[in-house]
Symmetry: C2
Amino acid sequence: MDPGTQPPARLRTTPSWLLTQTAAHAGRLVADGLGAVAARGYHYRLLAALHEGGPASQADLGRRCGIDRSDVVAALNELATRDLIRRDPDPDDRRRNVITLTPAGRRELHRMEQALDHVQTTLLAPLSGPERAELTRLLTALLDHHQQPR
Amino acid sequence: MDPGTQPPARLRTTPSWLLTQTAAHAGRLVADGLGAVAARGYHYRLLAALHEGGPASQADLGRRCGIDRSDVVAALNELATRDLIRRDPDPDDRRRNVITLTPAGRRELHRMEQALDHVQTTLLAPLSGPERAELTRLLTALLDHHQQPR
DNA sequence: ACACCAACGTTGGTGACGCCAACGTAGCAG
DNA sequence: CTGCTACGTTGGCGTCACCAACGTTGGTGT
């Protein structure tokens, strides 16, 4: 039909464009999947970090998840109103709060993971098993390299 | 030092997390690189599309770049005030504007590309040549697959 | 004991990106 | 002529990421 309705070739071969575009699609899928269980990325990251690392302070959670302290506050507020986490003052350090995953939070985390499993499937549909592993490896290498000065 | 300050393992092996995180880093690098020449992603995409495809309507540009019509308007306004593009009414279809790249716009596009070349280098630093090609191939496959219903 | 600095949680604001709804205008098909 | 579609424009919303500032608390140096 109408020619030139394709993305510019220079963009289509530029890794940064590819990354941001695929990430946009991935983000859309993730947002949809999490939205189906009334959650968003920050919620999942925080709950997953709590599940793996156990109770932690908000600052610790932020560092683990790569989320700014101020954004951790807001996300935890939302999780707390749904009773998915508990926020208790730390008796050993009165500056801190101890964030604890509640049973309901564990259940919600499980639902989120199911939704995300489905997202992975559809996202990686065009890739073979070895290709998925290779993609994971390459992205991990990029991430590790650029995350050293944290 | 303090253990458990690592991202959760489940996140670190999840492709969608890897994509969004690497994309966040890539986006940061791109934004910094383009910011050094007083531009942002939308500006680069639009100028690149104009350079490759020649003058076009705003709706066409939006389709080519994957940018919403309304966002095209704002970005073109910014480019127009810097005289990087011209916006003329289309005599053949009075609904449309014909967007044309000016010589100054071509120069700015060149500066942006230089900045982005540098970004690619630092972004892909940890990968070998074949690995970069493979990453590009995998991302392209993902993008093509998920862009069919456009 | 004191002053100093660092860390914590919190509030508020900014920007980029992506998306959607609505409007008036203009082209096109029936 | 009547609709339907496309176009440009305005305005708004949500997510993610980041920064500045404040008061409180902990730890350190002197």
